[in-house]
């Protein structure tokens, strides 16, 4: 029981997928212009993460090792399609706001990374808890980032006005450069608080199933 609790909290703080492991950068920067989009993306990815972790932990003995990555991707893509349907039916505004980043959950390396690193090595319950913990960690990181960006960039939070009308919001924060800037500063802040060195580029991707290939490519195939 204690062990399961540890698995669950691991993803929220110690190994927060976004701010500590620096995975899933694309959706993190793209959707955090508004708090509602950030939370929506977080919940959608969490749902996919839990379901795919459960299914992959049940199937990992059947899936041959050499084709495991394509198999994982098919499982994940199936759940993403289901989530796409759900969002389109119950939150059409969110569906339009997330746009192409909703189907792109398929290639979010948090999900594939957890399938490879955790679900394919652990039991069903632990994998489900890991998925939930990582999903909550991802959602919280998106929530914090989108809070900063929406308040500074649009002067609102969840659509409610926070800064007075007379104050001109810094539109840059709602645009592309603001996404990179806030993300970089958040990682630095977390590193400062936890007194750990921030992830080096490349090393930070150690939870990514392609980290080895990526490092090899970065060295031009020599390493």
């Amino acid at each position: 029981m204690n062990n399961n609790l540890k698995v669950f909290t691991n993803g929220i703080l110690k190994e927060n997928p976004t701010l500590v492991l620096v995975l899933g950068t694309c959706p993190t920067i793209a959707v955090t212009t508004m708090v509602s989009n950030g939370i929506g993306m977080g919940i959608a990815a969490t749902l996919v993460l839990i379901c795919s972790n459960i299914v992959i932990s049940m199937l990992h003995k059947i899936i041959p090792d050499s084709v495991r990555i394509p198999c994982f991707i098919v499982v994940i893509a199936g759940f993403v399609t289901i989530v796409q349907f759900l969002v389109q039916a119950f939150a059409p505004a969110l569906y339009d706001a997330l746009g192409v980043f909703l189907p792109l959950i398929v290639v979010n390396c948090i999900i594939l990374g957890r399938a490879e690193m955790f679900a394919s090595k652990n039991g069903v319950l632990a994998s489900a808890l890991d998925g939930l913990g990582m999903g909550i960690g991802f959602t919280l990181a998106l929530l914090v980032m989108s809070t900063v960006r929406e308040i500074l960039g649009s002067g609102t939070w969840m659509g409610f006005r926070i800064l007075p009308e007379s104050m001109q919001p810094i539109a840059l924060f709602a645009q592309a450069p603001g996404g990179f800037l806030v993300f970089g500063l958040m990682i630095a802040l977390v590193a400062l608080i936890t007194k750990k060195k921030p992830a080096r580029v490349g090393e930070g991707c150690c939870a990514c199933p392609f980290a080895a290939d990526c490092a090899r490519a970065a060295e031009g195939g020599k390493a």
Binding site: V22, T25, C26, P27, I29, A30, I69, P70, I73, V74, A77, G78, V80, T81, Q84, F85, G99, V100, P103, L104, V106, V107, N108, C109, L112, L172, Q175, A176, P177, G178, G179, F180, L181, F183, G184, L185, I187, A188, L189, A191, K197, P198, A199, R200, V201, G202, E203, G204, C205, C208, F210, D213, C214, A215, R216, A217, A218, E219, G220, G221
Partner: protein
């Protein structure tokens, strides 16, 4: 007509740059930009696969999925097509063009899960581009990725060798902050295509 095509390619390179304005393909943008030659190799591999993937997914959607009302299978079928295509490209290059395989082979395994490839093939469909427009948008996107990678590899080589960066900012944070400044530069291109081509 020709003017529109030019506008599409230039827009994809400068205004809607895949990394700096559309936030796709950030993993390779950060991970493979340490050295100039690997940045160029990765970008060329991405461009190649992007155009090939578009050439397969667009007809597949238009002639197979759409007439049968199977549009909802788009995500799952596109990712499978891309995965199979990357494997196929690798096998074909290895057998018939070993020199190209030597240059690009190391980057190919990273491309299946590169969100730029899936993202562009999906948005070509949702933007209702025709076949030629889709191919051009894929080509422009690939070239835009190349431009961003080459520029950033130059910036990175300066950052990596700078010892004065505060400890908490070293590594990922300073890389993201410099990407932010690069993105700010690219914002200056907005309106360029309208101004140049008037479309």
């Amino acid at each position: 007509m020709l003017k529109e095509y030019f506008a599409l390619v230039f827009g994809a390179i400068l205004v809607n740059n895949i990394v700096l304005a559309r936030f796709m393909g950030i993993c390779p943008f950060l991970g493979v930009s340490k050295k100039m030659d690997s940045a160029v190799g990765m970008s060329l591999a991405v461009t190649f696969v992007l155009v090939m993937a578009t050439a397969v997914t667009w007809p597949f959607y238009t002639f197979i999925l759409k007439p049968h009302g199977l549009e909802y299978l788009q995500t799952i079928s596109f990712i499978l097509i891309i995965a199979a295509l990357v494997q196929l490209v690798e096998i074909v290059l290895k057998k018939y063009v070993p020199s190209l395989h030597k240059a690009l082979g190391v980057y190919l395994p990273l491309i299946t899960t590169n969100c730029a490839v899936l993202g562009i093939t999906l948005s070509n469909i949702s933007d209702k581009y025709n076949f030629v427009q889709s191919l051009l948008s894929a080509l422009g996107t690939g070239l835009g990725f190349l431009l961003a990678m080459v520029l950033f590899a130059g910036v990175r080589s300066r950052i990596e060798s700078n010892p004065d960066i505060p400890e908490a900012l070293q590594g990922m944070p300073i890389t993201l902050i410099s990407a932010s400044i690069l993105a700010m530069g690219f914002m200056g291109f907005s309106g360029l295509v309208t101004g140049l081509f008037g479309v």
